[in-house]
């Protein structure tokens, strides 16, 4: 590295050496300067001018700077681009002797950024720590801008899959790793697939994790970690400790506002994996990749950032107990029935600022005075919400209201009496603290006012005394207070005036008396400023004693905002209240797709009924032409079930929903980013997951499984999967199974007790055929692929030839497949009988003769 002679550049290098992976924002007066390589990079990313100022003996040093007051927006740009920035401030006042002391006060990284300029108000900004052990992998997730903190641990065999779901669900902006993990190719290649997720090596990892347990206990002031559910989860502890350490290192302060870690949804939420999240387009659409057209986009009518972030969480963490779901539904129902109360409360909530982020900023010493005023108003509005909703009967609303503690009003009063209503942004300039708080401060202000009044009086008397009508007392930074006399009166200036400056049209003077008062005013101002800074710090400290109260209140508001939004949706979108968990059936009358119906003209969406149960309607085999709406229908069912589980009303006339543990959605179109997997491979990997994890409480959507390979391969696989789903003894997941292989319709005959054929109707008496978008019982006879090809504008030569081929092929197929059902019927039932017998036979208590007899019996059955 280059050697430098000047003390400042030496200081720069020394600090830079401590933060090698950061851009260093080096405070020089009113600017943050970047030097050397940082300057080149910064200039490129930020589009600012790269200068190269000669620095004495050091020659040309590349340099680029941004004004400190606009630093936030530049920081946002750098962080958005994935860079980390160390903020280095001047720690001592500049004076003649020696160089100003400088110190890094915090490090801003994509996952730990706190300023609103960098944050998406309606989305959490997570940083994630991953600790890979021999048997287990730990994961910790925190949003330091709001204080939320979670942990999780999973077996090493499935860590990629689990983490994949976590990353997809929570979208962390930054993942921190230990040096050793970072060095592994496998790990790096896994993470590089996520473009918005920045990888960071945490060099002090060891320091915080060698005794992770003690560190966590100490930080959260608890005797045991069992309350966090990680007492026995070593890797989760390590990840949590590392994350806490990382946040502490970047913020350069203890992060008191991070809440005690909760557990990431495991066991207490309906499991949604990657393919479910992306295929149901919960947060972004597959085609555009944007939020518009996603379920969240349709559902999120919350009025505050707090609520918006909560609604996201509710979607990814659907409830699994009838009771919890019922609680939310009850609240939504009550709010849906009371329009005036709802609208009034929503209006109030819309005035609540992002309290979580404000208090987080104050916790790490970043808040500014006006933010406390906004906080005060927000807290007052929170109490107003409480007053509005307190009388509601629903338990959920009641409990959320209880989260809005009366202590908030103490704080409101405190802030009201302690701060001026319109405080200055920079507390160092004073004008923040209200009168009546500090006697000393009030006296100083009175003194200053008296002295300022004296100066006004002085101006008046001097004017009269000298007869100079243009005489004015002014002040500026360089000279302080002075008397200004215009040129034409200069001859009248008395002798005791001391000339200081001559201007084009006047001259400036001072008098000893004036200087004396100037001195007094300046001293008072200085004292005021110091005192205001100290008093403001006291106010902030006092506010932070309400940290937990405010965080709890913020959560309550977020919940109420969500419930209100759901109520609003229920009314405006004509949803109905689902009956959840009454039986083991899914029974939907006139269900609609919540998103597709909003794109269509009102009332144009064709609703459909659905009936699934654990016995004779366990698997619906859906056939029908392309474009007829099979996929929309299946997703609509999945979404209605999902909505019911997050406590929302559902787009249907009536709905009865059984409680599910997982929703699987397997679909043809996949955006799995891991390279090197063919479409078919992805399909099979997903199918494998479903078959392995589905239980009788699961809901499975299988959209055209087996189409990524040759026809016979495809049919065979699809057939076998469908068979497995209904014949596996210990799990009978409710399944919607769409296929173009009409041969599969014969399964209905084989599994009369489980499978029902349904099809999406088409009116083929018209040309082109009319799609009726209506699901009817029975199988479809044609896929109308050729008709669709015609509609799409495929040349007639091709479609005509296709029609001919189709007739031929169908004739052949009819012959081959016609034997299948009877044959398969006996075969399958025989085999399963054999299996049953074998399973129930205890060979240890079997004589050789009995064994032989059994063998013979079995042979007869096959």
């Amino acid at each position: 590295m280059r050697e430098f002679q000047t003390p400042m550049m030496q200081q720069y290098l020394e600090i830079k050496r401590q933060y090698p992976d950061c851009l260093l924002f080096f405070r020089l007066g009113d600017f943050y300067e970047l030097f050397l390589e940082d300057a080149e990079l910064g200039a490129r990313v930020l589009g600012i001018t790269l200068t190269a100022r000669p620095r004495g003996k050091d020659g040309h040093v590349p340099m680029a700077g941004v004004p400190f007051h606009a630093a936030d927006s530049y920081l946002a740009k750098l962080v958005a681009a994935g860079y980390k920035v160390a903020i280095c401030e001047q720690m001592s006042e500049p004076n003649k002797k020696g160089i100003v002391e400088r110190e890094v006060v915090r490090v801003v990284t994509p996952g730990t950024v706190m300023s609103d300029a960098s944050l998406h108000a309606r989305k959490n900004n997570y940083v994630c720590a991953v600790s890979i052990g021999k048997k287990w992998v730990g994961c910790a997730l925190a949003d330091i801008s709001t204080g939320s903190f979670y942990t999780s641990e999973f077996p090493v065999a499935t860590w990629k899959k689990e983490l994949d779901t976590i990353i997809l669900t929570y979208e962390p902006r930054e993942v921190i790793l230990a040096k050793d993990d970072y060095a592994q190719y496998e790990v790096i290649s896994f993470f590089t697939d996520y473009q918005d997720c920045n990888l960071t090596v945490f060099h002090e990892w060891e320091q915080y994790t060698t005794d992770a347990r003690s560190y966590l206990k100490e930080h959260f002031k608890v005797a045991t970690l069992s309350g966090f559910g990680i007492e026995k989860k070593i890797q989760a502890q390590v990840a949590a400790a590392a994350l806490l350490g990382y946040v502490t290192t970047t913020q350069k302060t203890t992060v008191v506002h991070l809440q005690a870690p909760g557990q990431l949804a495991a066991g207490h939420a309906v499991v949604l994996d990657r393919s479910t999240i992306s295929n149901l387009e919960l947060f972004k659409t597959i085609r555009e990749g944007g939020a518009k057209g996603s379920l969240l986009d349709t559902l999120d009518t919350t009025k505050s950032a707090l609520g918006a972030r909560m609604v996201r969480r509710w979607i990814v963490e659907p409830l699994v107990t009838k009771k919890a779901i019922g609680r939310r539904l009850q609240a939504v129902e009550e709010l849906a029935q009371n329009q005036q109360l709802r609208e009034k409360t929503q209006k109030t909530i819309s005035q609540i600022h992002d309290v979580e982020r404000s208090i987080s900023r104050f916790s790490v010493g970043l808040g500014i005075p006006p933010e406390l005023i906004r906080l005060k108003h927000s807290l007052a509005h929170m109490l107003e919400v409480k007053t509005n909703l307190e009388t509601c009967a629903a338990a959920h609303i009641q409990e959320s209201c209880e989260g809005l503690s009366e202590q908030l009003s103490e704080l409101v009063t405190y802030l009201d009496t302690h701060l001026l209503e319109d405080p200055r942004v920079d507390v160092k300039k004073g004008g923040v603290i209200a009168r009546g708080i500090s006697k000393e401060l009030d006296e100083l202000y009175a003194l200053k006012k008296g002295d300022t009044d004296w100066i006004l009086e002085f101006e008046k008397t001097e004017r009269e005394k000298t007869g100079i009508t243009s005489l004015k007392v002014k002040s500026n930074k360089v000279f302080g207070y002075y008397i200004e006399v215009s040129k034409s009166y200069v001859h009248l200036v008395p002798g005791e005036y001391d000339r200081k400056q001559t201007l084009v049209n006047g001259e400036r003077f001072i008098t000893p008396e004036l200087k004396k008062y100037e001195e007094r005013i300046v001293t008072a101002e200085e004292k005021i400023e110091t005192l205001e800074v100290a008093l403001f710090a006291e106010v902030v400290e006092k506010v932070l004693t309400y940290l937990v109260v405010m965080q709890t209140a913020a959560v309550s508001i977020a919940e109420l905002d969500c419930l209100l939004a759901f109520a609003q949706n229920a009314v405006e979108k004509r949803y109905c209240k689902p009956v959840v968990g009454l039986s083991d059936e899914i029974k939907i009358t006139a269900g609609r797709h919540p998103v597709v119906e909003t794109i269509q003209e009102r009332g144009q969406f064709v609703p459909n009924d659905t009936f699934l149960n654990a016995s004779d309607h366990q698997l619906l085999l859906i056939t029908g032409p392309n474009m007829a709406g099979k996929s929309v229908y299946m997703r609509q069912v999945a979404l209605i079930v999902l909505l019911a589980h997050i406590g929302s009303f559902v787009p249907a006339r009536e709905a009865q929903i059984s409680v599910v543990d997982r929703i699987f959605v397997r679909s043809g179109a996949s955006d799995f980013i891991t390279s090197g997997m063919s479409t078919f491979m992805v399909e099979m990997v997903e199918a494998a997951t479903i078959l392995r994890h589905a239980t009788s409480k699961s809901l499975i959507i299988m959209d055209e499984i087996g189409r990524g390979t040759s026809t016979y391969d495809g049919i065979s696989i699809a057939w076998a999967i469908a068979e497995y789903l209904v014949s596996s003894t210990d799990s009978k997941p409710k399944t919607l199974f769409a296929t173009h292989y009409h041969e599969l319709q014969q399964l209905e005959k084989v599994f009369k007790k489980s499978i029902k054929n349904v099809h999406v109707a088409i009116d083929d008496t018209t040309d082109p055929p009319t799609f009726l978008h209506t699901v009817l019982e029975g199988g479809a006879s044609h896929s109308f692929g050729v008709a669709v090809a015609k509609m799409a504008g495929v040349p007639p030569e091709v479609t005509k030839r296709a029609e001919v081929l189709l007739v031929e092929l169908e004739a052949q197929a009819a012959q081959t497949v016609s034997v299948v059902p009877s044959d398969l019927d006996t075969k399958v039932s025989g085999v399963s009988e054999v299996v049953r017998i074998l399973k129930t036979t205890d060979l240890d208590s079997c004589t050789p003769l009995e064994a032989l007899q059994l063998l013979e019996e079995l042979k007869k059955k096959v």
């Binding site: 005036q340 005035q351 108003h377 006139a590 009332g603 144009q604 064709v606 609703p607 009319t770």
Partner: protein, 561 residues
């Protein structure tokens, strides 16, 4: 030579259609009424280019079987009445069986319908009277009618269509009353893909709030009934009154109706609460025995006649008067209007019209003036006082005027029969037979009021009158009385002349604008004012005072946001 010919069947149908279908609004009205008659709980109206391009009305009502579709577009076919007796007991909107048929002759009508028992619906398109084939269609239960190419085959009629905006306005004016009177039905109206109205099933109050943007604070609900009739609904606070009658809604047995006579009854009942020439807001639901009502006056069915109109009018009048008396009102204002005034920095007197836009709601509140606080007089015109909850600004002239008016009125009421002046010489007034009859019927009341009259065949000899009326042109006075009686209004003891007289007296006697008042005079004025019965407008309808709560002040000064 031109010979008289019988018109072709087509032409007959087109002419007949003209009676019902004159513009997009009438199409929408017929279709929405059909939807309501079909028992829909949600009705969606979709319009393009003011309905001239396309009108779709979709409902979730009972729907039709496919074989009924072609019948539905035939004239004089309906499911709504079957016998002549049904006509007298009409409960449905439609009954003539003409609307769809008429539309089908002048436009392209696509009718799609599904009954709940069927899985799939059927669809039929009729273009200028020509029936297409019935096809299948996927849809939710209910009926959806789409009308396009309106008047395309009759260019002369098409020419009469107005601009898109005008047609939309006409559509709204027929649809809004229907939406108001059916709060139990969800409605949406989308014009050129823009959502104009979207309301779920609601309570009547919620519906009014959503559609007319009038919240409950400025509406006074009431229900008033006698043996046969019920008058229920909402009266708008006086400050809502405006120059047009577009926020006046009358429903007779659930059917939107216009009746200028009833509108006038309501307006008169507001009396001095209104500025002259303004129309109060009201939503009235009149329930009469079905057999008393005749809606079959013309094909558009927007005029309703009923028997015993006098009794109904009296009932309405009593209802309104009672509600207004029940609501003891005064102005409170919300900051915005003042903000506007402060911005322009003019110190013009606050006029009623400026205030009206911002004043709401009229709430009843106890004023307690701060005893010790000084009452400020500014520009010798306005008084400003601190109240328990804010400040109040009073127009001293208007305030005094109101007090005096009330005093005159009370004095008049108390002493009207004692203060009688003999008429010397006696005057004989000649009246029309009708007028005479009306007055002689009410002799007793007139006597009670202090009139000493002698009825002579077709003339009245006036011997004595209440002092207030002395020296008046008696012919005119009695004509007015008679007119009141004939138009079926209760003879108001306060005829307009008396009102004008009292108002004039009050005005001339009251403290003028520009008159300085001593502190105790100010206080007395305010105390008197607040103990006056109706204190919120001067007899000419201007506001007397404006009440600013601390909340409003805080808002003005951005202390709270």
């Amino acid at each position: 030579m031109i010979r008289i010919k019988e018109l072709s069947a087509d032409l007959k149908a087109q002419i007949a259609a003209g009676q019902v279908i004159e513009n997009p609004a009438s199409v929408v009205k017929e279709l929405v009424e059909n939807a309501l008659d079909a028992g829909a709980t949600a009705i969606d109206i979709i319009l393009e280019k003011g309905g001239t391009h396309r009108i779709t009305v979709a409902d979730n009502g009972c729907g039709m079987y496919s074989e009924e579709l072609s019948l539905a577009v035939q004239p004089q076919s309906t499911s709504k009445i079957a016998t002549v007796e049904d006509l007298a007991q009409l409960l449905s909107f439609g009954f003539r069986g003409e609307a769809l048929a008429s539309m089908a002759t002048v436009a392209a009508v696509t009718l799609a319908s599904r009954v709940a028992e069927e899985k799939i619906g059927s669809q039929l398109t009729v273009t200028q009277g020509k029936l297409g084939a019935v096809t299948q269609v996927g849809m939710s239960p209910g009926t959806s009618v789409t009308v396009t190419k309106l008047f395309e085959a009759t260019p002369a009629r098409k020419k009469f269509l107005k601009s898109e905006a005008t047609e939309q306005k006409k559509i709204l004016s027929v649809v809004v009353p229907l939406i108001l009177v059916h709060p139990e039905v969800a409605f949406s109206l989308i014009h050129n893909t823009k959502t104009v109205i979207d309301v779920p099933a609601q309570t009547p109050e919620e519906r009014i709030a959503a559609v007319l943007r009038l919240h409950s604070g400025v509406l006074f609900p009431f229900e008033y009934s006698d043996q046969h009739y019920t008058v229920a609904g909402f009266l708008g606070a006086p400050q809502l009154a405006n120059k047009g009658s577009h926020r006046q809604f009358l429903f007779i047995n659930g059917r939107p109706t216009h009746r200028s006579d009833l509108a006038k009854v309501v307006k008169d009942a507001y009396g001095t609460l209104l500025e002259p020439r303004s129309f109060p807001v009201f939503i009235l639901y009149l329930t009469l025995p079905q057999e008393m009502v005749d809606v079959n006056v013309n094909p558009k069915k927007d005029t309703v006649t009923f028997y015993n109109e006098t009794a109904v009018r009296t009932l309405v009048q009593q209802a309104v008067v009672e509600v207004l008396e029940r609501e003891d009102l005064h102005y409170t204002s919300h900051g915005q209007g003042f903000e506007a005034l402060l911005r322009t920095k003019t110190m013009e007197p606050v006029t009623a019209s400026v205030l009206r836009s911002d004043i709401d709601p009229w709430t009843v509140k106890d004023f307690s003036l701060d005893d010790s606080a000084e009452i400020l007089q500014v520009h010798n015109l306005y008084l400003i006082a601190q109240t328990s909850h804010g400040i109040v600004i009073i127009d001293q002239h208007a305030a005094h005027e109101r007090i005096l008016y009330q005093q005159f009125l009370e004095a008049f009421e108390a002493k009207k029969s004692q203060l009688v002046t003999k008429v010397r010489p006696q005057v004989t007034v000649t009246l029309s037979t009708e007028e005479f009859a009306a007055l002689s019927e009410k002799q007793a009341i007139l006597q009670e009021m202090g009139f000493l009259l002698q009825f002579l065949g077709d003339a009245i000899k006036v011997k004595a009158v209440p002092t207030l009326f002395s020296g008046r042109n008696f012919t005119e006075l009695f004509s007015e009385f008679a007119a009141d009686l004939l138009s079926d209004r209760e003879i108001s003891e306060l005829d307009s002349t008396t009102h004008r007289t009292l108002a004039f007296l009050a005005c001339r006697t009251a403290i003028k604008a520009g008159e300085p008042l001593a502190q105790d005079e100010r206080r007395r004025l305010l105390e008197k004012l607040f103990s006056t019965k109706t204190q919120f407008t001067c007899p000419h309808g201007r506001p007397v005072y404006i009440d600013l709560e601390m909340h409003d002040l805080h808002k003005l000064f951005k202390r709270i946001l």
